[in-house]
């Protein structure tokens, strides 16, 4: 297959179509506008439905409906819009509806700005909406990986009947890189949806709902969810390691920051510092065990994020007091260069 130069936002849209996404609902917001435009152009031409909703709240509820009807469906937005979708995401989790949500994060809180940031980690991985639910969260760090992970998000979401989120930021959404687009899936390989609302002919009626007034009943429903989350945690952890074998200083970073950290590891090694990188790809479930294991062998685990320290909490949970756990962060949509992070690394390497 040949490589094409594509923007992150466009590659995500194209990969979603190739993953069999039939219905896409959105409300415009920067910095994911190109994703919306691509879908408006391409999806109807390829037999799918594109609809610009009147709000993000409406868009996620359209996803709820399309998913209940049994098709692969997606919505995308950026931070403030995701806040509005949280209600719907909680309902999807409760009703066991698959569906993919893309968040191209920007600076927050509030209206914030449109620059790249990673301030929505808590929102994505710790619930966000109400109730005891989890969201599968996949964090790409290149345009290629964004295309692959959006396809994976559809697969996981279908397999476990739970919504999945692709969590990227304005830098990945806006940048262009060569991509080798995955082949379109064969629709026949999409798992059947016997629960979908297709019309009760020759079968008992199906219902999709997220409530049960009987506490015992709701408890059973919740236990079912927890079993699914357990299974996902055991089977779907993904992360990348760079130069961890002999590392003395470990950086943990994801997404855009993860790829900046790759450059940092390279420069650090050139200067004789034994640095390594763990880049979580699934943010939920989080690779606690592997980070704990590595922390036995290093002196320092440095977390780097475009936030005030959100994933940092998970890293500290994993590391405990086995190693020092400093933090490097940037705020408000400011993106550090590799040199900024490197000087931090040097402080701890020499310290």
């Amino acid at each position: 297959m040949s490589r094409v130069l594509m923007r992150g936002n466009e590659a995500i849209a194209e990969a979603a179509i190739r993953a069999g996404c039939q219905c896409y609902f959105c409300y415009p917001i920067t910095p994911q506008g190109e994703l919306v435009e691509y879908m408006a152009r391409e999806l109807p031409a390829r037999g799918g439905a594109f609809l610009q909703a009147e709000s993000e709240t409406a868009a996620i509820n359209m996803v709820y409906g399309a998913s209940a009807a049994g098709v692969r469906t997606m919505t995308s937005s950026s931070s403030p819009g995701i806040s509005l979708k949280l209600e719907g995401i909680s309902y999807m989790a409760g009703a066991r509806l698959p569906g993919v949500i893309v968040n191209i994060m920007r600076g927050g809180p509030g209206l914030g700005n449109i620059a790249p940031a990673q301030g929505d980690y808590f929102q994505a991985t710790k619930g966000g909406g109400h109730g005891d639910y989890r969201l599968i969260v996949l964090a790409p760090s290149s345009v290629q990986e964004a295309a692959e992970l959006v396809m994976l998000a559809f697969d996981l979401s279908d397999r476990y009947r739970t919504p999945a989120m692709l969590l990227a930021d304005g830098m990945l959404g806006q940048m262009m890189e060569p991509v080798e687009l995955p082949d379109p899936i064969d629709p026949a390989t999409i798992p059947g949806r016997p629960w979908a609302l297709t019309g009760a002919v020759d079968r008992a009626p199906n219902v999709v709902l997220s409530f049960d007034l009987d506490p015992q009943g709701l408890k059973e429903m919740n236990k079912g969810l927890q079993r699914t989350y357990q299974e996902i945690t055991e089977r779907e952890l993904r992360w990348e390691e760079v130069d961890t074998e002999d590392a003395d200083l470990l950086i943990v970073a994801y997404g855009s920051m993860g790829r900046i950290a790759k450059s940092v590891v390279r420069s650090a090694r050139e200067e004789g510092i034994k640095a390594g990188l763990v880049r979580p790809i699934t943010l939920w479930p989080f690779p606690y065990a592997r980070i704990r294991e590595l922390s036995e062998r290093v002196s320092t685990v440095l977390t780097a994020e475009l936030s005030a320290g959100q994933m940092w909490e998970d890293v500290r949970l994993a590391v405990g007091d086995r190693a020092a756990t400093p933090f490097f962060g940037e705020l408000g949509g400011v993106v550090p260069t590799p040199r900024d992070v490197l000087s931090e690394v040097k402080r701890y390497a020499n310290g």
């Binding site: 130069l5 910095p31 449109i114 830098m171 940048m175 262009m176 890189e177 790829r259 040199r339």
Partner: protein
């Protein structure tokens, strides 16, 4: 050690700096390199300035933003003011001499002044200044061949439904390349 070059293109909105960067990235990709293209975006562009950063590498690219670019293409004076101090020692600055009145301040970089607007006007294609600039850059960098970039801009124009502009853009690349040649040879 691997080859990695960071290039910043900067200018007024409308001077085509984003496209110049994209054509370089596309040509780099066709030439077998790893590439990344990172634009400034949003209201920043309403303010009337635009820039993008291209990285060319023979290995997978980490950060698409760079501390110290090897090359700067400055299409106007504010761009030179902002990015000149960031260039790596020994780096190269391609300046639009048609619009930039001052000399470069650094003495540890190679400066290639090109009268981009004048050259483009001679070709009767004032909008092709970005390709004049890119042609000059290609000569100074010597990483991506001129023909590959020519094919990339031709394809780009074709995809935008402007196939007939392919030739004049290719010519603009050529003129920029030649202009840089004479500057660099005179300096050598």
């Amino acid at each position: 050690m691997n080859m990695e070059q960071g290039i910043v293109f900067a200018g007024f909105g409308g001077q085509g700096v984003l496209l110049a960067g994209k054509v370089l990235a596309r040509a780099g990709m066709e030439h077998g390199l790893e590439v990344s293209w990172l634009p400034s975006y949003g209201p920043e562009m309403r303010g009337g300035t635009a820039n993008c950063t291209v990285v060319l590498s023979d290995a997978l690219i980490g950060a698409p933003n760079v501390d110290a670019p090897q090359a700067l293409v400055a299409m106007n004076q504010p761009s030179l003011d902002r990015f000149e101090p960031q260039l790596v020692p020994g780096g190269v600055a391609i300046l639009n001499a048609s619009l930039i009145a001052r000399e470069a301040r650094r003495s540890d970089i190679t400066v290639v002044p090109i009268p981009m607007n004048d050259i483009a006007r001679e070709l009767d294609a004032p909008r092709a200044i970005n390709m004049v600039a890119l042609g000059a850059l290609l000569r100074a960098l010597d990483t991506v061949p001129l023909e590959v970039a020519g094919d990339a801009i031709a394809l780009e124009m074709e995809e935008r439904g402007r196939a007939k502009l392919g030739e004049v853009n290719r010519l603009a690349l050529q003129r920029g390349y030649e202009a840089a040649s004479s500057v660099l040879q005179a300096g050598a």
